[in-house]
């Protein structure tokens, strides 16, 4: 996966992550911290059978975050809220280090990508992706998966379809399958740093669920390098580091 063997890079990464983690700890004490548009719950760091006959529920988030799955309409409100507030500021209000790059403007709205000149199959595919996303947000990854599979049938070049397919598989506890779809999404989103950061962050989540915390950490770091405002990566790294300090590896 990502190269963490270079000692200089690794050292710089650690500093950046440390700053981000401190910022986050400060932020969780504030009651009015801004919410991300789409939260990826952090699964427990144990591997589950990828083909479990009964579908596992989305992994519960840590208690102090008081995260719940947003309802579809809620998700829309948050999205709008975020747009008015601009990009996410790292918790604690601290700017990420230069290595992490600036927080990118929120580009998560798929419907905003439907512009007048867009090919009809892309527009239809984006709408289906949005429906799939809402089903995911509403906690129905099985139904979301069926919807999302159609997105790539209608438009095989729609990269967001692959990303959300990965997300649906992740929610279903099929982490390896999720990683496979992320590989495809990554190759098709290489020129969209906001989404590429989402890909790396979700990859981190999968790797963490598969019991590979170091690789997960590298993926989160990669996500933050692309978009220092990536909430999933930020929170996951903080948690990883908190776990690391209480249970040194």
């Amino acid at each position: 996966m990502k190269n963490i063997s270079c000692p200089v890079n690794f050292f710089v990464q650690k500093i950046v992550l440390g700053v981000v983690a401190l910022g986050f700890v400060a932020a969780v004490t504030e009651s009015c911290a801004p919410r991300p548009p789409y939260r990826t719950p952090i699964p427990p760091a144990v591997s589950r059978p990828p083909e479990a006959p009964t579908l596992p529920p989305p992994p519960p988030p840590p208690a102090q975050e008081s995260v719940r799955q947003p309802l579809p309409q809620e998700s829309k409100i948050r999205e709008q809220d975020l747009k008015t507030k601009g990009p996410v500021t790292p918790p604690g209000g601290k700017e990420p280090s230069k290595d992490a790059g600036p927080p990118l403007p929120d580009d998560s709205s798929l419907l905003a990508k439907i512009t007048p000149g867009i090919p009809p199959q892309r527009a239809a595919s984006l709408r289906l992706t949005e429906e799939g996303r809402k089903l995911l947000d509403a906690g129905d990854p099985g139904k979301a998966l069926s919807r999302l599979e159609k997105t790539i049938v209608v438009d095989s070049t729609n990269p967001y379809g692959y990303f959300f397919l990965a997300k649906a598989h992740y929610r279903l506890g099929r982490y390896k399958e999720s990683l496979n779809f992320l590989d495809v999404a990554e190759s098709r989103l290489s020129e969209e740093p906001f989404w590429l950061a989402e890909v790396h962050a979700l990859r981190g989540e999968n790797l963490r669920a598969l019991g590979m915390p170091q690789k997960a950490e590298a993926s989160y770091a990669q996500a933050l390098r692309l978009n220092s405002g990536n909430r999933t990566a930020m929170e996951a790294l903080s948690r990883l580091q908190a776990e690391g300090s209480s249970n040194p590896r």
Binding site: A124, R127, L145, E149, V153, S156, T157, F181, V184
Partner: protein
């Protein structure tokens, strides 16, 4: 009394007692056995429910271009009726050509993930393009619309009984009353047999000199349908009567009536028998029983007497007469009012075309059964009424079937040596169609005629792929540079001349088609023209083991011999394997597992199994793109250029395949969204004597032209890390203004040529390139 008489009397008495007691013993045993039979039927599994196989659903969306003719066909097969007025009930549609408005009242359908309630929808069309979709019930705009899947066939044992079991409470009271009025009006007053009816029927039969009227009660009819045959014998009637008495003694009237309503035979759709009132309501009126009008209810009740003779599919007049008889009886019995009667009698029965379930995809279904056999026994498949949702696209399936059959016929007309007398070893072919992104098998034709041979050449026939294998050699070459071996690019020069390859003490001399050699050519040219000698040289430089590894990585599962001749396809693979391997290229290096079964549901709509799209990235998108770009040249300039002349002009990549001995002809070709493999040959290994371009390409072209009509034109999109430059195709160097032909070539970034064409130098060009 004389002694002898006494003896006779005694013997007679003993004999009488013996016969009587035997009769009593036999009679009670017989009654017991009949009772056991009746009980087992009532309390055991009464019916077998064939599993049903459904095609994939069809998604319509705003902006898409419709193949309108295909859509009407699909509506027809789905049981939608065209109306002149606005649709009022589910299953009706109206198309107003002048305004381009298509109104359709969608059916209900239970999908594996949701239950859809039919709604009226308006689709606005501008030419073939969908401009707006609106839910007319709510006035809301919709952006896409899913048409329910089509029933492909049923999996049944001997007889296909189509039936959905309903409870008595689910049957409309009017329908029950109508059936009782016309079939057995004293149902609630007799004990299984009705002497009044029997006397009446006997009188009529005696007068006519034959059996023209039955006095059977509903219970007797049920017993006949459950256990007996249709033969009109008194012995059968007696048995039927005894069983009816037993059933009435053991079970309530409502239980008997409910069984009757589910058991009764009500018509035929091809191989599919229609049983029970629920199924009949759908079959004749495409609507649930609760939505039936008084007239439709009367007809349904009237059909029981002779469903095929009185069927409105067969004769609207006969059906109308029978309906009116029932309506008159309902009026006489005061079950309906005169107003209802008059309204019902005015209802016109529409003439409807009977659409039979014909199983247009028998090879696909066989393949599916093998896949299902891993998890479901044959008994489960033929008795338990599973609903199996598949990836099959019936439109593509029909096009594939037609293209293959007509293509083979044309070949036989053009080449007399291909014609065989009788059925033995006739010219055969196969097509498999895959969607590369999902691995869904959209169509499969395993042979020319399923009736003659069920051998499925798509996955059961292992044949030599010939030149279809060559792209694996070239892919291995493109990868070799990245792995530290000799670097190949599309413009690397390769020698195309006779040579000997010494491999593990063996000599092998590959020869070109017609012994024609081209000297030094670019890698692209060697692939486009399918040059054996040049390809073998590339394989030698790359290593044949690496070629084999690449083929496996892409999706070939058969074992491949590690010998030089493998470079030219001296191995045995199935068309399915070829399809999977090339799908990986079409899908930018991502291999999708072939998918046929998508979901399996039980009769209670519980999802038993769901198979999702599974993918794995096995190749970089950059390498896949360069290969696709090279293989596009095969259609644009190479051995498959006739596809362009025959009218297939979309961006597509492909490769012809011909074996050395001319026994197998192949073509594998794909757009970014659809891939098809065609194989043509003889089962008995007779010589075909034609190349892939001559035998398989015409069939592929015909299929793809029809299959892609109306779909968006897509091209392979270069991923980052690809450099496209203009080169001279002969020298392989950057083109100058003096180059007569210029080709846009794709390279992995950093591999592109830096020198200018030495064959057509240009001073100004060279100056402008100087720092």
């Amino acid at each position: 009394m004389k002694k002898s008489n006494l003896r006779i009397f005694s013997i007679s008495l003993v004999a009488f007692l013996l016969i009587t007691s035997s009769g009593l013993v036999f009679g009670s045993w017989y009654l017991k056995s009949l009772e056991k039979t009746v009980t087992e039927k009532f309390e055991g599994q009464k019916w077998r429910f064939p599993s049903k196989i459904y095609s994939d659903s069809y998604l319509l969306y705003v902006g898409m271009s419709l193949q309108v003719g295909d859509l009407w066909d699909q509506f027809r097969r789905l049981g939608y009726r065209e109306m002149q007025s606005a649709p009022r009930t589910k299953g009706e549609y109206r198309y107003q050509r002048s305004s381009g408005l298509l109104d359709i009242y969608l059916h209900d359908f239970v999908y594996p993930t949701e239950s859809f309630k039919g709604v009226p929808v308006r689709i606005s069309l501008q030419g073939p393009v969908v401009t707006r979709i609106e839910n007319q019930a709510t006035g809301q705009e919709m952006f896409s619309l899913e048409l329910e899947p089509e029933l492909v066939t049923g999996l049944y044992d001997r007889i296909w009984q189509e039936r959905r079991v309903v409870k008595l409470s689910e049957v409309p009271p009017l329908l029950i009353k109508a059936i009782l009025a016309i079939e057995d009006e004293r149902f609630y007053h007799h004990h299984g047999i009705d002497p009044v009816s029997i006397v009446r029927a006997t009188w009529v039969n005696l007068r006519s000199g034959g059996v023209v009227q039955g006095g059977s009660t509903l219970t007797q009819q049920l017993m006949k349908n459950f256990f007996l045959t249709d033969e009109r014998k008194y012995s059968r009637k007696i048995k039927e009567a005894i069983m009816a008495l037993i059933a009435e003694r053991k079970y309530s009237k409502d239980e008997i009536l409910e069984n009757y309503l589910n058991e009764i035979y009500l018509g035929q759709r091809g191989s599919q028998g229609i049983f029970g009132v629920w199924e009949a309501s759908q079959f004749y009126f495409s609507k649930p029983m609760s939505d039936l009008t008084v007239g439709e209810t009367a007809l349904l009740a009237g059909l029981i007497r002779a469903p095929n003779k009185l069927s409105p599919y067969r004769s609207v007049d006969a059906a109308t007469k029978r309906r009116n008889v029932v309506l008159a009886k309902l009026l006489d019995d005061q079950i309906i009012t005169r107003k209802q009667y008059e309204a019902a009698i005015r209802e016109k029965l529409p003439h409807r075309e009977l659409i039979k379930v014909t199983n247009d995809a028998p090879f696909y279904v066989d393949y599916l059964r093998r896949e299902l056999a891993e998890n479901y026994s044959n008994d489960a498949l033929t008795r338990e009424g599973l609903r199996i949702f598949t990836s099959l696209d019936l439109r593509l399936q029909r096009i594939a079937e037609r293209s293959l059959s007509e293509g083979l016929k044309k070949l036989e007309q053009s080449y007399s040596n291909l014609r065989r007398k009788g059925d033995d070893d006739s010219l055969e072919g196969a097509i498999i169609v895959i969607r590369p992104q999902t691995g869904e098998i959209k169509a499969m034709v395993g042979g020319r005629s399923y009736q003659k041979s069920q051998f499925n050449r798509v996955f059961q026939a292992k044949r030599q792929p010939g030149s279809v294998f060559k792209p694996f050699v070239y892919l291995a070459a493109l990868m070799a540079g990245a792995d530290g071996g000799k670097k190949f690019t599309p413009v690397t020069m390769v020698e195309d001349s006779p040579f000997t390859w010494n491999y593990e003490g063996q000599e092998w001399q590959p020869g070109n088609y017609n012994d024609e050699y081209f000297g030094t050519v670019t890698l692209r040219r060697a692939l486009e023209k399918s040059l054996n000698s040049a390809t073998a040289r590339v394989a030698r430089d790359v290593g044949i083991k690496r070629v084999s590894d690449i083929a496996h990585r892409l999706g070939i599962q058969s074992s491949l011999p590690i010998v030089p001749a493998l470079a030219l396809g001296a191995a045995e693979v199935t068309p399915l394997e070829v399809a999977v391997a090339f799908s990986t290229l079409a899908n930018n290096g991502v291999r999708a597992t072939p998918l046929t079964v998508k979901q399996v549901m039980d009769p209670t709509d519980r999802v038993l199994e769901k198979r999702d799209v599974r993918v794995e990235k096995v190749l970089s998108p950059q390498l896949a793109f360069v290969m696709n770009y090279l293989l596009k040249g095969v259609l644009d300039r190479g051995t498959a250029e006739f596809a362009r002349r025959w009218g297939f002009t979309r961006p597509a990549a492909g490769k012809t395949g011909t074996t050395n001995d001319y026994k197998d002809a192949w073509f594998v070709g794909y757009t970014p969204d659809l891939l098809a493999v065609v194989w043509v040959g003889f089962d008995g290994q007779s010589k075909l004597g034609l190349s892939g371009a001559q035998a398989a390409l015409p069939i592929w072209t015909e299929f793809m032209k029809q299959a892609t009509a109306g779909t968006p034109i897509t091209d392979f999109i270069p991923p980052p890390g690809i450099k496209i430059v203009e080169i001279d195709p002969l020298s392989g160097q950057l083109a100058t203004p003096n180059c007569p032909y210029i080709l846009r070539e794709a390279f992995l970034e950093g591999d592109e040529p830096t020198g200018t064409c030495p064959l057509h130098p240009s001073s100004t060009w060279q100056i402008s390139q100087s720092p």
